[in-house]
């Protein structure tokens, strides 16, 4: 099967042209963000607003810094020792790089789904229950059962796994594993979900399911997705940001980026002239 072929229109978004709630303050505001890996200047003066209940797509050629930028929002870059972030990123008005802010709390508010499905080598149930457990979100077993079920339902996985919750999460198929990871992120009830190329390891059918899911989830969550597939960005996102060589070249409503790009580099990229 040729995975380059786009899935046959999984779901036409119900809202074709989303209302741009520009009056509402942005969920995330990044101002002149720079990221360095040692000497390497990976991200240069990026300023962007991310709006609530929308899917924002980051596109651009490999090594353009879009994943690096995504990882700034939940401070995953902290794990990398040589990494240094300057500038200011606020989540609901609060600076997330404030030294007084607890990174554990931040990551509870900003969930993440990774490129490769990475379920814990535990049961399906324990995978979902892990987040609520470590954050102490539930007080009884019944409540936890409920959170697990709701999270799996929201991730459209409940019907497939409800009879085998005690089986290891790693025994699921790739697409199911990725939905399990999404359910795991939802279980903590975050405000924002970051997705780092969530479909790059999946076949078109699994991809279609995830895309459908994203479209539903954006009713409640702010979603940021990094993707290599421009068709995917066009299908799932309401706003698109194009990155090139560590710079944010252009950001705007997805339709405009794909139909009337302002920058020559954006135009070249989306028409396939480089990247």
């Amino acid at each position: 099967m040729d995975s380059n072929i786009a899935p046959s229109q999984p779901s036409v978004p119900t809202v074709v042209s989303p209302p741009m709630l520009q009056n509402e303050p942005p969920a995330i505001a990044a101002r002149t963000v720079n990221v360095f890996y040692g000497e390497k200047h990976a991200l240069k003066d990026v300023t962007i607003d991310i709006y609530r209940r929308q899917v924002t797509a980051f596109i651009g050629p490999s090594g353009c810094g879009k994943s690096t930028f995504l990882r700034c929002f939940n401070r995953m870059n902290d794990i990398i020792e040589t990494c240094r972030v300057t500038g200011r990123i606020t989540l609901d008005g609060g600076d997330i790089y404030d030294p007084r802010l607890d990174v554990v709390q931040l990551r509870a508010r900003v969930g993440m789904v990774f490129q490769k499905p990475n379920p814990f080598p535990k049961s399906i149930y324990d995978n979902i229950a892990y987040g609520p457990r470590i954050h102490g979100l539930t007080t009884s077993r019944k409540e936890l059962d409920n959170v697990v079920e709701q999270s799996l339902r929201r991730a459209a996985l409940w019907d497939e796994v409800k009879d085998r919750l005690s089986e290891p999460g790693t025994a699921l198929s790739g697409g199911q594993q990725q939905r399990l990871c999404i359910a795991r992120a939802i279980a903590v009830s975050p405000d924002v979900i970051l997705m780092d190329e969530p479909c790059s390891a999946l076949d078109p059918i699994a991809t279609a399911k995830i895309e459908e899911l994203m479209d539903e989830l954006r009713q409640d969550y702010t979603i940021i997705i990094v993707t290599h597939s421009m068709q995917q960005a066009a299908r799932v996102s309401q706003r698109t940001a194009f990155f090139h060589l560590g710079e944010l070249v252009e950001v705007g409503p997805t339709e405009e980026i794909f139909t009337r790009p302002q920058d020559k580099r954006t135009q070249d990229y989306i028409t396939g002239r480089f990247g």
Binding site: I79, Q105, L106, F114, F120, G131, C181
Partner: protein, 459 residues
């Protein structure tokens, strides 16, 4: 042989290519197929497969040599050592004269402990062979008995005092020379003697006993419940086994937690800077330090400075723990590093703190590897002799060690000491002790594999 398998794409033209390849690239009518199907290509292919076959043959050869050497070792050990598990005993009609074996006349253990059981055995043997007259002949006759026979008989009577006053056939331990003759290690000489240790008269007595069924090989219980001895027929491995057990217990209790804790800190928490680099280099160097140096350290620090007891498993365990620590730390760090980063990321992404990531995810996944590393270190420690020599665990110790501070020796040291003894009887005992050591080792590895599987199944 430096023919390239593929002609590199070269704009300079075919002249830069090897002649054969260049020819095959020429578009000629006669040639059918591509340059991957002509004779030259087939020759290249054959060469490639031949190289592969040779490579495989080297591997098979290496494994064959290894298996052969191992089999040779095991067969030699077994054939030398298996006879040590049986021991020659004599059956004598012993009269338990109360006046001799029970001086106080109350059959109490205290009274029996003062009894002269050696005399009743000697009397029984002299009665069996009344032809032995004169000092020399009697001495030769009594040399057939083991000097330890009386103690074993006394223990039996203490356990069952009803034997006192009766006469009954009892199996008693024969001397090592009789044992060696019975097992066929002594060749008969022209004068009727054997092995240079038994004279013609003694051989005749032994053969008479054997003919009447009063001389037999029986399971050697003593070997598993005794300590060291000067007489080969009386030695046992229990002292060495328990010494090794206590030593390894101390070693494991100290080295495993410290090693794992150090590995976790260095791998997960420690900042990467010059200081931790120096620590890492030194740990790697320590793993290569000869073990006798650790023995010297134990002698200087634990015995001389802290005044700990000499020959004690406690000190031996501490010294071996120091020796195994680097191995355990290195293996544990490797096991932690092998945990996929995606699992860490998943846990961090959910808001787990560093300690939660380590305790909930990294450590359980790394534990099987850590156990493997630790068991290798323990196996090394089990076989270690040199550091134990320095702290006095090489002494001749008859008593079975009772605890961590009682004097003890270790199995490999015991083997070393027995191998040093000149008596023929020690040859089979040495091999048998090696078999016990290997069994000890296999048991340890089996436990480790069991634990490993158990933890792996959970995850």
């Amino acid at each position: 042989m430096m023919q390239p398998l593929h002609a590199p794409p070269n704009e300079a033209g075919v002249s830069a290519l090897p002649r054969r390849v260049a020819e095959s690239m020429m578009p000629t009518e006669e040639r059918i197929g591509s340059r991957h199907t002509d004779a030259a290509a087939e020759a290249r292919l054959r060469a490639r497969y031949a190289a592969q076959r040779r490579f495989k043959a080297y591997g098979v050869l290496a494994i064959g040599v290894a298996i052969g050497a191992l089999l040779w070792l095991l067969i030699t050990l077994l054939s030398n050592g298996v006879t040590a598990f049986v021991q020659t005993n004599l059956r004598l009609a012993i009269t338990f004269d109360p006046a001799v074996v029970d001086p106080q006349g109350n059959q109490s253990p205290e009274s029996l402990a003062q009894g002269d059981f050696g005399r009743v055995i000697r009397d029984a043997l002299r009665q069996r062979f009344p032809d032995a007259q004169g000092r020399v002949a009697v001495r030769n006759l009594l040399a057939l008995l083991s000097s330890g026979a009386e103690f074993e008989l006394r223990d039996r009577v203490i356990a069952d005092p009803s034997m006192i006053g009766t006469t009954q056939p009892v199996w008693v331990l024969a001397s090592s020379d009789v044992d060696m003759f019975r097992k066929g290690f002594f060749e008969k000489a022209a004068d009727g003697g054997a092995g240079g240790r038994l004279n013609a008269q003694q051989v005749a007595w032994i053969e008479e006993l054997a003919a009447s069924g009063d001389l037999a090989l029986q399971w050697n219980r003593l070997f598993f419940k005794a300590g060291d001895s000067r007489d080969p027929e009386l030695v046992g491995v229990l002292g060495g086994v328990l010494g090794s057990f206590f030593t390894l217990f101390v070693c494991l209790v100290l080295a495993f937690p410290f090693g794992v804790a150090a590995a976790i800190y260095l791998e997960e928490f420690a900042p990467k800077n010059r200081f931790t680099d120096i620590i890492e280099v030194n740990i790697n160097n320590l793993a290569a330090v000869p073990s006798i140096i650790f023995g010297l350290l134990g002698l200087a620090v634990f015995l001389n400075f802290f005044g700990m007891p000499r020959s004690a498993p406690l000190v031996g365990g501490i010294v071996l723990a120091l020796m195994s620590l680097p191995t355990i730390i290195i293996a544990s760090r490797a096991a932690l590093r092998a945990v996929p980063p995606s699992i860490r990321e998943a846990a961090y992404g959910l808001g787990a703190s560093k300690m939660q990531v380590v305790l909930h995810h990294v450590l359980p996944l790394g534990l099987p590897g850590m156990l493997t590393g630790s068991i290798i270190a323990m196996a090394q420690a089990l076989g270690e002799t040199a550091p134990l020599l320095m702290i006095g665990m090489v002494a001749f110790i008859v008593d079975i060690p009772q605890g961590l501070t009682s004097s003890a020796t270790a199995l490999p040291v015991q083997i070393f000491m027995w191998a040093d003894n000149p008596e023929r009887g020690f040859v089979e005992k040495t091999s048998a002790a090696i078999i016990v050591l290997l069994a000890f080792l296999l048991t340890m590895n089996a436990i480790a594999i069991f634990l490993r599987k158990k933890f792996e199944r959970r995850w």
